[in-house]
Symmetry: C2
Subunit: 278 residues, 2 copies
Amino acid sequence: MDPRPIGVFDSGLGGLTALRELHALLPGEDLVYFGDTGRVPYGSRGEAVITRYAREDAAFLLGQGVKAVVCACGTVSSVAGALLAREMDCPFVEVVTPAAKAAARATKNGRVGVIATAATTRSGKFPQALRDMDPGIWVRSLACPLFVPLVENGHIAPGDPLATPAVAHYLRPLREEGVDTLILGCTHYPLLAPLIRDYLGDGVALISSGREAALAARERLREEGLLSPRQEGGDCRYFVTDAAGSFASVAEVFLGEPVGRVTPVDISGLEKLELKKE
Amino acid sequence: MDPRPIGVFDSGLGGLTALRELHALLPGEDLVYFGDTGRVPYGSRGEAVITRYAREDAAFLLGQGVKAVVCACGTVSSVAGALLAREMDCPFVEVVTPAAKAAARATKNGRVGVIATAATTRSGKFPQALRDMDPGIWVRSLACPLFVPLVENGHIAPGDPLATPAVAHYLRPLREEGVDTLILGCTHYPLLAPLIRDYLGDGVALISSGREAALAARERLREEGLLSPRQEGGDCRYFVTDAAGSFASVAEVFLGEPVGRVTPVDISGLEKLELKKE
C-alpha cells in the first residue's frame, strides 16, 4: 500500500481522458495532472524536441512526489516511451502497448486502423506492437495532424462545421478498407469519438488509448502492491504551463465535473529540470 | 549605409511572407530569418508565455549581429510589440501599425475587417490602431484559431477540403456585414488569400500585414541611413527550433524558390538568452 499520488502527463488537454478513467477506476487515489499547454502540440514536432519536453514533463511529476507516472500522450509514448521507461525509477505506464493489446483482442476480421499525430505515425510504434502480438493482423496507420488543434479549440460537437469535414477527410481510407477496430492513438481523439462513430458506423470498435493506459496502470500498481489504502475521496491537482484559467474552463467540459486546484508552472523552471544526470 | 543583415522573426513559417516581400523590395540586403517552429503556434497562448518567447526570439536575432529587427508575427506585435520597441537598441518594425495605415487608406465604405489569432484579437491592438487613424472607421475583429495549424500543415490550395469550410466558418460575419477591406493580421494568412478571395469576392481589398511590415522596414532603414550599399545579391540565412529539413521543404513552397542554409537552434540555448537585464 502506498498513499502517494499517481502522476499523469500530456502535451495539453488530451491526457484528461486518461485521468478521468483513472479516477473512475481508482477513486481513492490522489492524482497529479501535468498539461504542457504552453508548448502543445507535440505531435507535429521532431523527435529531439519531443524527447526533451517529455523528460522535463516526467521530471516535473517526480518532483511532486508521485509513486508512478502515466504518460497519457500517444506522441511521447511512441517517440520517447522506451527511453522514459529505462530512465525512471518508478513504475511508468505508456499508452501504446495497452491500446495495441486491446485492439488485438477486439478485432474479428483482423483489420485494424490506427489514427494518431504525425510524430506517432512516423514512429511506427503502434503497427509494430500490433504485429508483435499477432503477425496476422493487417494494420493501416494514418496521421490526423489537425485533430489536436480542433480538440484544443473546442471543435468536438457532432456536426461541427470544421471537425466533421476533417474526420471525413482523414478517415475515408479506413472506411474503404473495412477495418473493424480503430485505435485512437492520441489521447485527444476520444473527444472526437462521437463524430468518428457517426462517420465509420457502430460496427467499428473504437479503442481509447487513454482508457487502456488507465486500466494498465491499475494492473501495474496492484501487482507492485502500490495501490492506495483508501477506497474513495481521491484528490486531483492540476499543473499547466499556460493560462491556468482557460485550462480550467475547458477541462471542466472534458472531465464532466468542476476542476480542482489549477497551478500555473513557469516553463523556464521546467527547462532546468533533468530526469537523470547524463 | 550599413552592410549588416536585417533580422526577421516569427513563430513559424508565416513570417516568410514578410521575408519574401523584404527580399523583393531590398534585393541587396542580407536577411536572417528565425522561425520558432519548436514552439509554434503562439496565437493560442497567454500573454506571459508569448512575451517570454518574443524576448528570446529577438535576443537570438541580436546575437546574429543584425542592424534592425522585423517582427513578422501578428501575435507578438500585438501582445509584446510596444515592450520590444522600448527594450531594443536597434530599429524595430512590427506589423500592426503598417497594416492599419494601409487599411485606413484602402477602405472606401469605412468598414474594415481584421482576422488574426486568438491572442491578437483579445489584445484589441488592430481596432485601436485603426480608430487612432480615423475614428469614423467601423471595425469587426475576428479570431481564426485554426488558420495557423491549417497553413503549417500545408492546407492552402484553393478547394482544400479542410481549409475551405474553415474559411467559410470564420469569415461569414464579415461577408454579411459588407466590409470592403480585410486586414490579414497574422503573417500566416496570406497563404490562404486565394481561398479568402474565393469566399469574399474580388471587391474586398486584402491587406497583408507581412507585406506592409516589409514596406515600413524599408522606409525606416532609409530614414535612418541604414540601407545596405549593395543593390543586389543579398543572402538569406534561416534558423529554426525544430526539424530544419521539413522546414526547408515547406518554406520552399512559400518562398517560390529554394531555401538557402537552414540551421537548427537548440531551444535550451534560446531560453538562456535575455533581451535586457531586468
